[in-house]
Subunit: 418 residues, 2 copies
Amino acid sequence: MPSVEIVAVGTELLLGQLVDTNTPFIASELARAGIDVRATQSVGDNRERIAATVRTSLARAQGVLMTGGLGPTIDDLTREAVCDALEVGTELYEPALRQMEAIFARFGRPMRANNRKQAELPAGCRPLDNPRGTAPGFIAFASDERFVACMPGVPREMKPMLREQVVPFLRERFGARETIVTRVIHTIGLGESEIDHRIADLFGSCENPKIALLAHDFRADVKIMAKASTADEADAMIAPLQTEIVRRLEDGVFGYDADTPASAILRLMRSQQRRLAIAESCTGGRIAAALTSVPGSSQSFAGAVVAYDNAVKISQLGVDAGTLERNGAVSDEVAREMARGARARLGADVALATTGIAGPDGGTAEKPVGLVLFALDDGTENSRVWNFSLEGDRETITQRATVIALNLLWRYAKGQAP
Amino acid sequence: MPSVEIVAVGTELLLGQLVDTNTPFIASELARAGIDVRATQSVGDNRERIAATVRTSLARAQGVLMTGGLGPTIDDLTREAVCDALEVGTELYEPALRQMEAIFARFGRPMRANNRKQAELPAGCRPLDNPRGTAPGFIAFASDERFVACMPGVPREMKPMLREQVVPFLRERFGARETIVTRVIHTIGLGESEIDHRIADLFGSCENPKIALLAHDFRADVKIMAKASTADEADAMIAPLQTEIVRRLEDGVFGYDADTPASAILRLMRSQQRRLAIAESCTGGRIAAALTSVPGSSQSFAGAVVAYDNAVKISQLGVDAGTLERNGAVSDEVAREMARGARARLGADVALATTGIAGPDGGTAEKPVGLVLFALDDGTENSRVWNFSLEGDRETITQRATVIALNLLWRYAKGQAP
């Protein structure tokens, strides 16, 4: 079975200064197309090592997909290294040069001499258009027809080039392949070991479809992957397993595939014709950002007040100054008044409020860093306050608090007592 | 110079279902310790391929650091594959078994038969404690003393094992190493080719210290890396280059190392004793989230209103209903009134407002998806509106709009006409 390898170029990857998201993106697109990825690698901005990596990969796989190192600077060495590995020279590709000139003209910026080298591609290659940036990509060939496809490292340039030019090339070259379909079942509020306990017997049952469990903080995904010659066939293999898993995890399943906790909450709110508002202190806008990521969120999301300052809690949410003074900003009473105020002032049916101590400063013995309170108000006796003690640094605490807020909102909207 | 390679094990990595954050974490810890990473790889849960990868890496580097594949399931094959690669058998390590039993007892969970295999480690290895999980790690040795250090894939188990056991082992084995110091100069609002044009001559000038340029949307980082025997020495090598680069890019440099656009804005605001407020429509809370990521942000950030709904724009920001009706929510007039309202109502000195069409729906011929307006109000004639046409999907547009907003705020706070 033909396979490819993926190589990411950049010294910053070897220094841990950048998390490589290109490789997983390429890998998942290839999985959808039924193309086997044998291994992935990253290598620094070093001409000899890049060339050696290309040679090693080409000895194991029919093709290599590379990202990065196509820019105009002296550190951009992928073109030269690929020529070395394939033992070919470079040629100036006039159409690529013309296109680059047109892009610079459109951006109203002068094209400099160093950009010209971006149009000098391996002889005999197939250039790849890059309408979103200046560096053209290319597919270069070894004498035995093995190939190296080079794409820019900037994700918004790489992604359309991969989808529109490289994947079609691979499909044609490798013929019709099996397809891999993945169904993701998203859960929230169930522990990893709890999920494992409920579905462990299904894990070992078969290789195709295959089940995997991926845990995040307070969230976990169960993935079912099936290989078949058509997507319909793969779907049919997945369906019974999916039904069984959802039956066992029902109290935690909020959605599938592209669903997010926010999209699940807004779907429930919309079906109940209710509107949601948020009052955020320690989460600082993250709950609102999650909700507004969902297309069409304005239908059921009224808005939010990020009330970092006590004066804003008073002026925008109607929190009582006396309540603040008596109890402090991180208190059940203030959380409750923030939620009540957000609901009333933003014209919503339901509101959730957060207040807590994200750190690194501001903690006390009584109210340590990591203490976060959540209040929900819908104008009935269902209104409640919860408190959590979260561990981690400032970023981790606010991130966890955001997920917990979404869990509470989802369970509330579903009619489960959170 | 001795070097290591990093290998991440897991088929999910080759299917793009998981972004590997272990490898960059390990790489950055090794950079701090002055240990050279030659390349990184990922490989699937396949015994032969893992063994072949270990052999390839050991032929190029003195050591291999691996993550993943140490669990109890049938898919966890790292132990066996490393034994194959090094041509050694396994041994039951009693202390590792005892420790696992103790951990299961502490978690109150029964230890199953398949967990036992986790204590069967390569003969002659040095076991690594894993107090946070069940899978012990180990460092196994080839006959020529090259080594393979295997750690679990779960980040919270891997990280302390790396820091407390593997890095000290590497330091001892490789002797006192050179240290690598990195200085990051952060810029905003300058294009990549503009930066390259201004500093290109410095790039080629030397290998140590070395300069690299890393571009994001509307942001770019220039990194200076120096290798020396002490951090002070490396700092001294960096200093003159840093001064020269900052001189050339001064209009775009907002900070260094851990600085963010938000921290730079808040630092300026604090020194000017001014307070900032935000009114967000299409950015949906992201500007507030960026600002509140900064510890101590409450000193100069009053808060934000996420006014997704027109009714909220009216009630919380005092936008005039007639203005909305005549001009639509995405208009200069509404942007201006949102900023003015946020400033007045949140008790701030300066406010920025965003309103735009993030898509995928809601665009018209006159106001297409991607149109985003920014208004800044400080109660003087400096108050202004900007409009941008952004490309991309919903997530990209809101992300770019957030960076542009931070760029405008930073330039305003610095006293540059943005």
